[in-house]
């Protein structure tokens, strides 16, 4: 039994899910009434983006996408934490 | 600092990470990994000299399994709440839970566990009274949440870290 078409379909389905998730996060990012809403939306946006890049990696079958996903995870965390810290304290790096 | 014969866990983890990223077990990757792991481990030790002691590894594994089961279960619960928002919005609320655990690493692990489970977020901790503030998405009965945190997470964490 050949299940590769099923896997192909699953990759496309997941990609569509992540794209829709990114769209939801983008709408919340633009509409969000408060600053913490926008940061939460950005957080969701980068994780969905990282997952869709992993999907592309599975679909195309290249290992190079892993490094991109790792870098997005690292820098996305640093960015969201810095912005949340800014909301909390008014400055990012405290003396 | 005084070495008390503890295994240098941080350096070992950094070395393993280096080898996994490079996907190789060759000699030069071991050497390069050590070259990075040893100074970074020493630098981080000076930033935070207090080290965690993990006892009873089997208990930690059981706790991990419990947390995984809870994460799966509460994922379904939160999914149902989100898809059911047409009828009613969930009733959110804060909940104060008095704790007995004092170890900072245990508290950190508790906060990560609570926040990683969908539906609950760690909202603060008062070090004087040792009271944890929890934010719950669907606050139906407070006693169940209190019981879950106290018995399912805090008891094993106290045995692991203290």
């Amino acid at each position: 039994m050949n299940v590769t078409p099923l896997l192909n379909w699953a990759v496309h389905f997941a990609l569509a899910c992540f794209a829709t998730g990114m769209l939801c996060a983008a709408i919340r990012l633009l509409r969000g009434p408060s600053a913490q809403d926008r940061i939460l939306a950005l957080d969701t946006l980068y994780i969905n983006g990282m997952l869709s890049i992993l999907m592309l990696g599975i679909g195309i079958g290249s290992a190079i996408y892993f490094d991109i996903a790792l870098l997005i995870a690292l820098f996305g965390f640093a960015g969201s934490t810095a912005m949340a810290k800014f909301l909390l304290r008014g400055e990012v790096i405290e003396p | 600092m005084i070495r008390t014969g503890k295994p240098p866990l941080l350096e070992i983890l950094l070395l393993i990470m280096w080898l996994v990223v490079n996907q190789s077990l060759e000699l030069h990757h071991w050497l390069l990994g050590l070259l990075f792991a040893l100074p970074i481990g020493r630098l981080v030790r000076t930033l935070r000299p207090r080290t965690a002691r993990v006892r009873r590894l089997n208990l930690a594994l059981i706790l991990c399994w419990h947390v995984f089961c809870d994460v799966v279960r509460s994922n379904f619960a939160v999914g149902r709440i989100i898809l059911g928002t047409v009828r009613q919005q969930p009733k959110v609320g804060f909940l104060d839970i008095p704790l007995e655990i004092r170890d900072p690493h245990g508290l950190a692990a508790l906060s990560i566990i609570i926040t990683a489970t969908p539906g609950t977020v760690f909202a603060g901790h008062d070090p004087d009274s040792n009271v944890l503030t929890l934010h719950v998405l669907d606050l139906q009965d407070e006693a169940t949440w209190l019981h879950t945190i106290k018995h399912r997470y805090e008891r094993p964490l106290m045995e692991i870290f203290e």
């Binding site: 896997l7 998730g21 997952l51 | 990560i112 990683a116 977020v121």
Partner: protein, 113 residues
């Protein structure tokens, strides 16, 4: 897309995990739009960050192992990293929201330092 042909014992779990992870992340992101207050919304993306990302990363591990012909485990790094870091961001945001709503309510209070 060119997915290398692989044994059904790897492809079938990978496909199921991908569908599950996609649905979890989608419902989590949908929660951002459908819940009506920030305190409710902060719980929604946790679904995609923990279990959704975990499913997708395990599926990626299975398929890249099948493609390379040997066990490939470096996706575990992202999984562990995400499991540790995404709660930290959520906690900081929660504290920021509590702080801002407190100082917004009584703007002349002393704790607004």
């Amino acid at each position: 897309m060119n997915i290398v042909p692989m044994s059904p014992w790897l492809a079938l779990p990978a496909a199921i995990l991908l569908i599950a992870g996609g649905l979890l992340a989608l419902i989590g992101s949908l929660g951002l739009l459908r819940l009506n207050s920030f305190y409710a919304r902060i719980h929604a993306p946790t679904m995609g960050n923990t279990l959704g990302a975990g499913c997708v990363l395990i599926a990626s591990m299975l398929t890249s192992s099948a493609a390379a012909g040997r066990p490939v485990i470096h996706e575990l790094l992202i999984t562990v990293f995400l499991l540790i870091t995404s709660p930290v961001t959520t906690m900081l945001l929660m504290r920021a929201a509590v702080f801002r709503s407190e100082t917004g309510r009584d703007r002349q209070g002393e704790e607004a330092s």
